[in-house]
Subunit: 372 residues, 2 copies
């Protein structure tokens, strides 16, 4: 069964839009002029097929193009290469939807844990989850461990590392992950919690595999992946390995240009919902409305919808809005996102680091109150 991509296309008229759609179908598969496409299997199956084109508004059109699973094979990065590799370099083309179809879903079965699995691990059966962030960079492992213990004490569900914690000398990956995982385990036991610790995956390309196993063995409860820097294929690789058993939280760093211009890139829901979900992420972080990144409520709801839509693709995952969260905003956020959500709590917690448990506790209380 073929997979289908929906493109929004700028063109002068419908005929030009159709010509652009034909060009996309060529560009994304055979990348040769139509006249020299070899007959048979390549022309009949491999070549992208324009399934429909239509008018959205003045100068704006839509095309659905289907592709053979054979063109993507088993690799998520090659799947994206077919979805929008070279055509991403053309002005006036934006991906607004990706429907994987049954064959690709069998290859990319989506989140291993999803909403239910993450809730089970955190022991938070209902209600919004809260995830304080460990930062800033430049501190030693013991400082992050102390912050993490305080966050558990305050009632955090997830202890998330800042996406900028890599392998810097001040807190090398292994030393930091070991110290924080241990602190979280001790605090969980002390306060009767099940908080999970999600370190930021980093490393040279040839160090990543060893770091994944190190994180698992140290007791990490998942890993953060930045698809903008490490590729969406990294999400798929981790989600597909039962031996790793690590939930994946995706982070939007270095993905901004994909969504910022409405005529190019991809829709917010595709970049921060459909693609991470299909690749196998369990939690997708994105910039929250009203924070410092300018995403609208509609952008954020499109993302939440793409993460949680019950009809797929695959298992529902958790949207995780970050930025600008405060006790004052909680009621609005609960009204907007409902309960299946992970709230990232950032810099506002760090006014008084030794008392981070009070700040986390206040946020937990505010979420509970808003939901009741």
């Amino acid at each position: 069964m073929r997979f289908t991509v929906t493109y929004r296309i700028r063109a002068g008229d419908l005929a030009e839009a159709r010509a652009r759609a034909d060009a996309i179908a060529l560009e994304q598969t055979v990348e040769i002029p139509r006249a020299v496409v070899p007959p048979g299997y390549i022309e009949d199956d491999i070549l992208g097929r324009v399934e429909e084109t239509g008018t959205l508004s003045d100068g704006v059109f839509q095309a659905k193009i289907s592709y053979s699973p054979d063109s993507a094979g088993e690799e998520f990065s090659q799947f994206l290469n077919v979805v929008f590799g070279n055509s991403s370099i053309q002005q006036g083309i934006r991906v607004t939807g990706v429907e994987p179809g049954e064959t690709m879903l069998a290859r990319f079965p989506g989140p291993r844990f999803g909403i239910k699995g993450i809730r089970a691990r955190c022991g938070r059966a209902t209600g919004g989850m809260i995830a304080p962030v460990l930062k800033p960079m430049g501190q030693p492992p013991a400082a992050f461990a102390a912050l993490a213990a305080g966050a558990v004490r305050g009632g955090a569900d997830i202890i998330k590392e800042d996406h900028g914690l890599a392998g810097q000398d001040a807190a090398p990956f292994e030393a930091r992950v070991e110290a924080v995982a241990k602190a979280v385990a001790v605090a969980n036991a002390e306060y009767g919690r099940n908080a999970i610790y999600i370190p930021n995956l980093s490393g040279r390309a040839d160090q990543i595999e060893a770091r994944l196993r190190f994180a698992r063995d140290a007791g990490a409860g998942g890993v953060i992946v930045m698809p903008g820097l490490l590729g969406f294929g990294m999400v798929h690789r981790i989600a597909q390995d039962p031996g790793l058993d690590l939930p994946v939280m995706t982070h939007p760093s270095f993905l901004g240009p994909w969504v910022l211009n409405p005529d190019t890139g991809m829709d917010h829901g595709v970049v921060f919902g459909t693609l991470p979900r299909l690749a196998g992420a369990d939690i997708s972080v994105f910039p929250n409305v009203g924070g410092r990144f300018g995403f609208s409520a509609a952008d954020c709801l499109q993302i939440a919808e793409a993460c949680r839509a019950p009809d797929g693709p695959a298992t529902a995952m958790l949207p995780s809005p970050g930025g600008g969260m405060s006790v004052e905003r909680v009621a609005d956020m609960v009204r907007m996102y409902g309960q299946d959500v992970v709230y990232l709590l950032g810099g506002s917690l760090l006014a008084d680091p030794p008392n981070i448990h009070l700040a986390v506790g206040a946020m937990r209380k505010a979420v509970d109150a808003a939901e009741s």
Copy 2:
């Protein structure tokens, strides 16, 4: 020594631009409000430092911000995370320059081969190099091997695979690389050439390392990396491994949104010149002016300049314009790019695959004539 990033910033006035620059310096490093930045090492060294701000034109400003090498550590992906990770999600900020400084240059020493090294391997001491592309996907390994042999016979310097050749069933990576590498070696011997074969690096994240060694052992003369899909860190990883000894050719797939909107992303020269060069690429493919991607001559010259500038960073590398090359355009291209360039030759060669040597030969002759 700190490294410096130049940002072009949209703002109402210079004071607002300065405030935005201060916000970038925070966002890219500590990611917490200024008031809670811990004093000492983190405030003095880790926190980004706005070195200068100025006005470019009405509503357009420029800021140079310096960062500590400690914030990036040894990882290229973390370096990019500091250069423009989260701030890439803000409207109205574009990276227009990256100056690595001595400390980061010691960690990221750039191309291992560069222009001189690639020329030595191809046996093309002077003059533009030509690189026919093996495609379309969907053919068996033997078909690519035959095309490659014909291309060598015609006088190709580099046999480049299409970026869409991954591990598909029709031509799995290992079988294809082995068949093509052998065909190129045989043809080199037969026709007295030194053409190098550059397969497209693909694979699940946990297969990449094995595929790199497979390619080396099979006799590949380099690998193509798509930083948009596999990350710029993959370029650095390969360039830094003397045991691999593989030149890297970067390909622009999935990078389009980075350059298409002049107010966001990064300048063409940064994405297709400075960053691949600093990561260690030897050849950078980009969409040629007059082809189907809409890059202007100025965009392409900015890229070529960033690839070849003698004052760095590090060794000069080869720009490789692709798209729309034909015998008729060669004279213009030679005038535009000079001699240190790799011309990609694509679909136009495939009108008559069994006679690809004639089409490649005609292009070689046209380049030689235009240069003489």
